[in-house]
């Protein structure tokens, strides 16, 4: 590993102050950033570790929403959100592998916005709000293409507010080597209105499938999307799946998510 400076913040203020320096990057669980640095795909001069900031950790539940601190690990979301929002807990409990889930955090996942990450699908399908040290960002305004977000330099995610849907489910087709989503679909219904968000499939990152949302809002059953298809032209093609295969998987995963959706 190349040489760099590692700071450990114990308060949000300390972290935000450190991030004023443009050569400084935030380090959350490190499950993406550390491998990326080893490969020299990123080479920040200074890291500020966020994992000791207690104020960024934990799951808070109210009647209508779940608020998850940005530095809450996937393993903790899987346990602490299980009663109030089982679909989200289930998603968190299937990211990577157990050891990765004991380090990786929701804030880290959303700040990185990997086009095959799981959390972006939940955030977009639920219309969650990303809270930062500066503002609140609606899910629709947050994701900005592959690895792109609305975050400014030095801006730090502090929490994610999820409205709790009536019913929901996340279904992913796992790429077996990386355990990222080859295609993942999060389906959520709020007051009869269905939202469908797709990860892993598009060159533009996570997206909503509007036609499926309309059809499923009309009739919440797999058969409702029988005649719908995703245009493969802008989907990802790689060694694991061609565009047409990913398009096929989007429909299959959506149907499975609808079938499995529950409170």
């Amino acid at each position: 590993m190349y040489d760099f400076e590692l700071l450990t913040a114990t308060s949000l203020n300390e972290a935000v102050t450190a991030l004023q320096n443009e050569e400084t990057q935030a380090l959350a669980g490190g499950q993406t950033l550390i491998p990326t640095m080893k490969q020299r795909l990123a080479s920040p001069e200074r890291l500020v570790s966020l994992t000791r900031i207690k104020a960024l950790q934990g799951v808070t539940v109210t009647a209508k929403e779940v608020v998850i601190g940005a530095a809450t690990r996937h393993a903790d979301v899987a346990v602490q959100a299980a009663a109030c929002f089982p679909a989200l807990a289930d998603l968190a409990g299937h990211i990577g592998d157990p050891a990765v889930r004991n380090r990786g955090t929701i804030g880290g996942s959303l700040a990185n916005n990997d086009p095959a990450a799981c959390y972006p699908a939940a955030v977009l399908a639920c219309g969650a709000v990303i809270e930062t040290n500066l503002r609140r960002i609606a899910a629709e305004d947050y994701f900005d293409g592959m690895f792109g977000t609305a975050l400014d330099d030095g801006e730090l995610i502090t929490a994610v507010r999820f409205p709790i849907p009536e019913i929901a489910h996340y279904e992913k087709f796992v790429q077996p080597a990386s355990r990222f989503a080859l295609v993942g679909v999060f389906v959520a219904r709020f007051d009869g209105v269905v939202r469908v968000a797709v990860t892993g499939a598009s060159q533009m990152g996570v997206f909503r499938w509007a036609e499926a949302e309309a059809a499923l809002s009309n009739e919440f059953a797999p058969v409702a999307i029988d005649n719908l298809a995703i245009d493969p032209a802008e989907l990802i093609a790689d060694a694991h799946a061609a565009q047409t295969y990913r398009a096929h998987l989007v429909a299959v995963m959506t149907k499975r998510a609808v079938t499995a959706a529950h409170r």
Binding site: M1, T8, G30, I34, K38, P98, N102
Partner: protein, 161 residues
């Protein structure tokens, strides 16, 4: 250089590290605990799994400084007090759950974490939990049998494939 203090296998230890020093390098090079292996160095294989405050983590994907003050457990701390193999280690030996042995420290540490919160896992649970541990020798069958045996379940009753 940073001066790091932590508790490793129940003993307070102190050592020097740079910010960039990975936990696995600190354990191996500074403390001489070479049982924790570096397999892929890309957090795929799980040969470097240790426990931090009871949680299994990949020591190649965590900086040593992030473990300052923590309770770290490695494969060196797993044997019984008299030096004999513990229940899980003995089950790996009894069931031929290893061949070359390179992945074994990580497998044992993962299995230990699994059995702590799921004392009687079924075969599917074990396979899923060991997703982040790669073995190139055994084909996994005997590792699954070993974990079933360590949890005092009859490996053959569940008929592992």
């Amino acid at each position: 250089m940073l001066q790091l203090n932590m508790t490793v296998n129940g003993q307070p230890v102190s050592g020097q590290a740079e910010g960039r020093t990975l936990l696995v390098q600190f354990l191996r090079d500074e403390l001489g605990l070479t049982g924790t292996h570096i397999g892929c160095d890309t957090s795929q294989c799980g040969a470097c799994i240790v426990h931090i405050n009871g949680d299994a983590v990949k020591a190649c994907t965590m900086f040593a400084a992030e473990a300052a003050g923590a309770k770290v457990n490695t494969i060196e701390g797993q044997a019984n007090a008299d030096g004999s193999l513990n229940r899980i280690q003995q089950a790996f030996q009894d069931n031929h759950g290893l061949q070359c042995g390179f992945c074994t420290p990580g497998m044992v540490m993962s299995a230990t974490a699994l059995l702590r919160h799921t004392p009687k896992p079924d075969e599917s649970t074990i396979r899923t939990y060991l997703e982040g541990n790669i073995c190139r020798c055994t084909g996994y069958h005997n590792i699954i049998k070993a974990v079933l045996a360590a949890s005092e379940q009859d490996a053959f009753a569940q008929n592992p494939r």
